[in-house]
């Protein structure tokens, strides 16, 4: 087990190194400078600025300097926010995104499991059809459309929740729903399919024959088995949601990381692009490892190291 983990951690670091390298060189291929007033600056002024920021050095040297900084935990300072360290930009804005993403995921998965199980138990009845239709709608309506509708009807017209801004829990309700509908629909679909399979298997027949309650069968036997494919889905999905959704953050004016990332790309804010990309990648590789470990826990048929120790 320990050998396996060490090997995995080594591969994770290798992955991160490759991501950093590829992103750095791709990023340097983008035309233009990171200066927002580039349009009004003469080539001479841009040259002087490049010298100040070390952007006149060969790209491989810039890459080594960046890598050196990163190893010391220095992600550089942002160009968009003059003098602001990238690490501060990320740390001050990842909180809102992470909270929102996590809430959306919990909401989506829990409600999705309930709807999915409900549909599977009542297979081929109108309840099943209704659940399927709902999850198709949830999957196909873009979350920003739902966000705008929720904001208009629930917040502005009914006044139940704040229209936008970020403060207490009440501010998170509408964005959580808007963001959670995607994973909800996805989960419901997975659970239904998985559970329909499981419910028609022999051991469920046996459980029934033993006289277990319907709830007991569904909860202890069917659900646990149909959760396995879901685990693969949840991990990366959570990372994607927690690292920010630009659209939802914009609609509800949430100080998250989503827009920061997109804007850093369009403005050639090199240190921010690298910082957010690395954060995202690190989150992803860690979650993939966790997913594999969780697999082993919930499904004894899967052994992590393969030699049975």
């Amino acid at each position: 087990m320990r050998k396996y983990l060490l090997k995995r951690v080594f591969y994770m670091l290798l992955t991160l190194f490759l991501v950093a390298t590829i992103t750095f060189f791709l990023m340097k291929l983008m035309p233009g400078t990171p200066y927002s007033n580039q349009e009004k600056m003469t080539p001479q002024q841009i040259k002087i600025m490049n010298e100040q920021y070390g952007l006149n050095k060969p790209v491989w040297l810039q890459y080594l300097i960046y890598l050196g900084g990163m190893l010391h935990g220095d992600l550089g300072t942002s160009f968009q926010y003059s003098n602001q360290p990238v690490s501060y930009l990320i740390s001050s804005r990842i909180g809102a995104s992470a909270q929102l993403g996590l809430q959306a995921m919990i909401f989506g998965v829990l409600v999705g499991i309930i709807i999915g199980s409900f549909a599977a138990i009542n297979r081929n009845t109108w309840i099943d059809t209704l659940c399927t239709v709902l999850s198709i709608i949830g999957k196909s309506v873009p979350n920003f459309v739902l966000a705008v509708l929720l904001q208009f009807y629930i917040a502005l017209k009914l006044g139940w929740f704040p229209i936008a801004d970020w403060g207490g829990f009440s501010y998170t309700v509408l964005p959580t729903i808007a963001l959670g509908v995607g994973p909800l629909a996805e989960t419901a679909r997975f659970i239904r399919t998985g559970m329909v399979d499981v419910l028609s298997s022999d051991y469920i027949e046996l459980a029934r024959a033993k006289g277990l309650t319907k709830f007991g069968i569904v909860y202890h036997h069917a659900l646990r088995n149909s959760l396995i494919p879901l685990v693969t889905l949840i991990g990366p999905y959570t990372v994607a949601l927690m690292t920010g959704s630009m659209v939802i953050e914009n609609i509800f004016s949430i100080p998250g990381i989503g827009e920061q990332f997109v804007k850093s790309i369009t403005t050639n804010d090199y240190p921010t692009i690298m910082g957010v990309t690395m954060l995202f990648s690190a989150g992803l590789v860690v979650v993939i490892l966790l997913t594999d470990i969780v697999y082993g826990i919930i499904d004894p048929r899967i052994r992590l190291s393969g030699n049975g120790d």
Binding site: P31, T33, S36, Q45, Q84, R93, G159, S253, P255
Partner: protein, 541 residues
């Protein structure tokens, strides 16, 4: 007993909800007091005036700090830190007398040394200021920026604490206007040194000498508050006690907040502006920026004036601004935007306009087109149109493409919509046929636009050249710089030359539609340089 407990709980809940309601009404009654709730469409990136580059930073700096002058209505100069200004007879030396009652929020007095320190800091190449070029013209500024001279040689000296002497390399007829731009404001050396690399990165790492003080800004958050500055020398004229800024990037959101009374102002999208065209609260803010077609005159086909004129004449600009843009933008009269400068009551844009340069005349266009093609010895022409990749830019290029292809036989337009930075890079390297581009004025003077098209200007990407034009611009800066009328005439003539030759084809002057609650009075908006000045703003009863 149990019921009793529930009754108690119920009473507590009822009471606390009453209390909450009371709080709610309390906060809404302060809203009718002198508190303004303003919408911003982007974050506040920095409060360091030497490195600021964006509208939000400049606006915030303008309301929390003050330079020698403050720009009032129609970019009129109003008193700031300077109480008296003496200009030498040759116009090369300015002596400012500063007021003695101006203070920083850290308690120190605002002195001439703060200006010297600030200016030297900005032109220092190490500071990497993106607006340092505005100092060009102040003695030795160019050499300092290029690293050829020491910072201390800059043409600004403090004579004692309250006298400031500025010497110039060349005449700057708009020099006083520049003093209202935050890049020329003073900086408190003690604060810059004390806060070091944190200077200007959060409201607490900054000092203020203007009408308001910045609070609740962490450097990356989406809301902040300007509080009335009780140390401000003219605090009796500041009526607002606070301005709450909220960043809402979605205009749908800010409009909803506006409707619910949480905001007193909101920016509108073009779609919203069309629907609210009859609203009494609609305020269109004209920008000091003009968009135009720039032709690549290193290419044979665009050196041909008939081709350029034909293209310009087929565009129905009225339809363009009303149907395609719809955000309150207006048909451009020429290159320099309207509202920049006036002489004897006449706006520069009108004085220097050439009707045929922005008119639609398709019969004439067809004639010129045929003539142009013949001169080039071809029967058809491929036009490469370059523009940004925003929705607005895409709509614009689609419109232009159809106008040109439908009306000029043999014209084939291929459009490239690319990201802004790519568009700039391609413009600079000359990799375009025609580019849809724009220019915004940094200060309220036509020269801010006209400088762009002199032969030696490195930002003249189309490489249009005209000796007469160059001569007129040069004269406006040298021989005629001291004579308002002569200088005005030079600039008028120059713009007419550019327009008559269709060196560029002006399209529209940009505007932003906003809604402002009618109780909000005294907001000063200037198109060029800094936009908003809230010093005299108040909430009417």
């Amino acid at each position: 007993m149990k019921i009793n407990k529930f009754a108690k709980l119920g009473t507590v809940v009822a009471l606390s909800s009453l209390f909450l309601v009371a709080c709610g009404s309390k906060s809404s009654s302060t809203a009718s007091k002198q508190v303004l709730n303003w919408n911003e469409t982007a974050e506040l990136p920095t409060m360091d005036l030497s490195t600021a580059t964006d509208v939000v930073s400049f606006d915030t700096l303008n309301n929390t700090n003050e330079g020698l002058y403050r720009l009032g209505k129609d970019s009129k100069i109003e008193p700031g830190i300077a109480t008296k200004t003496q200009v030498s007879s040759d116009g090369m030396k300015y002596t400012f007398t500063l007021r003695k009652n101006a203070k920083w929020s850290n308690g120190q007095k605002v002195t001439a040394k703060d200006f010297v320190y600030s200016w030297q800091r900005t032109v220092n190449p190490k500071t990497a200021s993106q607006y340092a070029y505005l100092f060009s013209g102040i003695a030795n500024a160019d050499d300092i920026m290029n690293g050829k001279k020491a910072v201390s040689t800059l043409g600004i000296k403090a004579e004692g604490n309250y006298k400031l002497v500025v010497t110039l390399d060349k005449k700057l007829p708009y020099f006083k206007l520049l003093m209202g731009f935050p890049v020329f404001f003073p900086q408190n050396e003690k604060a810059v040194k004390e806060y070091g690399s944190k200077y200007g990165t959060a409201s607490k790492y900054m000092v203020y000498n203007g009408p308001f003080k910045l609070t609740k800004w962490t450097g990356s958050n989406l809301s902040w508050t300007l509080k009335k500055n009780n140390n401000y020398w003219d605090k009796k004229d500041v009526k607002l006690s606070a301005i709450n800024f909220k960043v809402n990037k979605s205009t749908t959101t800010s409009y909803n907040l506006y409707q619910s009374g949480k905001l007193d102002e909101t920016t509108l999208s073009a779609e919203q502006a069309k629907q609210l065209a009859n609203s009494k609260e609609l305020v269109t803010r004209k920008g000091a920026s003009t968009f135009y077609l720039e032709y690549n005159q290193t290419k044979k086909e665009y050196q041909n004036a008939n081709i350029r004129k034909a293209i310009s004449l087929v565009i129905d600009r009225k339809q363009f601004v009303n149907k395609v843009l719809g955000d309150g933008s207006t048909v451009a009269k020429g290159l320099a935007s309207t509202g920049l400068a006036k002489l004897n009551g006449e706006d520069f844009a009108s004085a220097a306009s050439v009707k045929s340069a922005v008119a639609t005349n398709r019969a004439e266009a067809k004639k010129l087109w045929a003539k142009g093609l013949k001169e080039l010895g071809v029967t058809s022409l491929n036009i490469q149109l370059l523009s940004d990749d925003t929705d607005k830019a895409k709509d614009s290029t689609t419109f232009l493409q159809s106008q040109i292809e439908e009306n000029l036989s043999g014209a084939k337009v291929s459009v490239s919509n690319v990201p802004f930075k790519t568009r700039l890079a391609r413009s600079e390297s000359g990799d375009f046929g025609i580019v849809v581009t724009g220019w915004g004025a940094d200060f309220s003077d036509p020269i801010s636009f006209l400088d762009l098209f002199t032969s030696d200007n490195s930002q003249n990407n189309g490489k249009w050249k005209n000796a007469e034009y160059d001569k007129l611009i040069e004269a406006s800066k040298t021989t005629d710089a001291g004579n308002t009328t002569k200088r005005w005439n030079d600039l008028v003539k120059a713009q007419k030359i550019l327009l008559n030759d269709q060196g560029i084809s002006p399209l529209y002057q940009q505007a932003t539609a906003t809604l402002v609650k009618s109780k909000v009075k005294g907001v000063i908006y200037n198109a060029a340089g800094v936009n908003y000045n809230f010093k005299n703003t108040y909430i009417a009863k």
